[in-house]
Amino acid sequence: MLLISCPNCGSRDETEFHYGGQAHVPYPENPNELSDRQWAEFLFYRDNTKGAFAERWLHSTGCRQWFNMLRDTVTYEIQAVYPMGTPRPDAAGRVTPDTGTASTAADSTTTGNASPDISGTNASATAPSTSSFSTTAPEGATK
């Protein structure tokens, strides 16, 4: 059982959460222009990374908010928890430069923290105020 640190509620059992698959899959900008191949990619193809994987989780029996997580798919170690709409932190916990919007929120979740605390005792460090990012409309929410 994973112990997952919800940015809003702190550490909770995996059974409270719902898995949302690969993160950062944006809805096509010009859906009408996509070829069948491109639609197939968007609908059916997802990365299946062995190693550090950015994925979405929903705290379905808690705050009912979506968030992103960086998790190793071999060791299952959770490497970072970060808000929807912010760029993926790299495996070392630093934020990779990106044109992403809510960079302040990203910083507040990951700055100088190689392995963000998942014990729940330090929930504030991984819980930026909900107003600083959108938790309700994940990009490319397909599930």
């Binding site: 059982m1 059974t15 639609w39 197939a40 059916f44 062995k50 798919t73 299952y76």
Partner: protein
Amino acid sequence: MSTQQLPEHPDFLWRNPEPKSSYDAVIVGGGGHGLATAYFLAKNHGMTNIAVLEKGWLAGGNMARNTTIIRSNYLWDESAAIYEHALKLWEILPEELEYDFLFSQRGVMNLAHTLGDVRESMRRVGANKLNGVDAEWLDPKQVKELCPILNINDNIRYPVMGATYQPRAGIAKHDHVAWAFARKCDELGVDIIQNCEVTGFVKDGDRVTGVKTNRGTINTEKVGLCAAGHSSVLAEMAGFRLPIQSHPLQALVSELHEPVHPTVVMSNHVHVYVSQAHKGELVMGAGVDSYNGYGQRGSFHVIEHQMAAAVELFPIFARAHVLRTWGGIVDTTLDASPIVGNTPVENMFVNCGWGTGGFKATPAAGMTFAHNIATGTPHRLNKPFALERFETGALIDEHGAAAVAH
């Protein structure tokens, strides 16, 4: 202790050759599908200068981790055709491979617990009959007659409202199946090379010409991928993508018991499937863990959930103990159907996506995939399962028949 007291080592079933510098075809993955593919390449297509490369030990992946259920009662024509072909091959393989791997046609029951289940099940029985697959609908009393230890009272959370039943379905000893194929492959001249991990591919433009391994580069005309949970990793090395997600799937056994369970019972709704192995262990499978995972282990809450369902359905199991649990890595697709066919890389072929239920298909997967590799074009039975279906939209949705796992 004197070594003289030790019995003679039994005969080895296959050689352990060094890899040659080149082969006519290389199969990646020494699970059931890789071995069956090599067997049919040699037997049906006369391709004997071939190798099976396995990064670990033979059948150390899902092949010897599954719950060994064999059945063919799938909904759609395409699936019924390939799974029923597999079942017919299972019926003749012990003789053909000259190896009794304890294929036991003790029947498989799929329980229905809701009105939705009942409708889906009856529809599937009808579809099966039209496809020549043996199938019956059982009411709860008939369920009880066939499997007396099942609780059919209506005061449980998910009462048994009936079941589909396939009498020709059953179980087999999975490790022996692998050994049976391996021995025959070896006899036919196939090199089975364990501890040989494929780490990359050599390509000439869009065409594959060799595989890189931890034991050197091997030239080859053709490559067949049979890597189950690791298929995406290999495809990425080769430069293409697969619509696959890998998940942990767990199973477990109890201690040995007197024979109490005469058939195989599966319940999609409450997520458990149970048979009793020849030795006497109760063998049970769970559902997949929700997250992507390459660790051969899953979460305990999945097992807890499965045990709760098992004890409610089979009250006598309350006295049994979980002796061992383990996990495999299953390669799931969105339509719960496999991918068998050509790839964007010339001379490279893929067999994957069997997910939670590919053991039963082993002989037919091997036969059709061998045909596809040898001739370059799909066999009639694997044609509908090509990668293109994700573009054309001709998906083969088997979530009802494949359900939780099996």
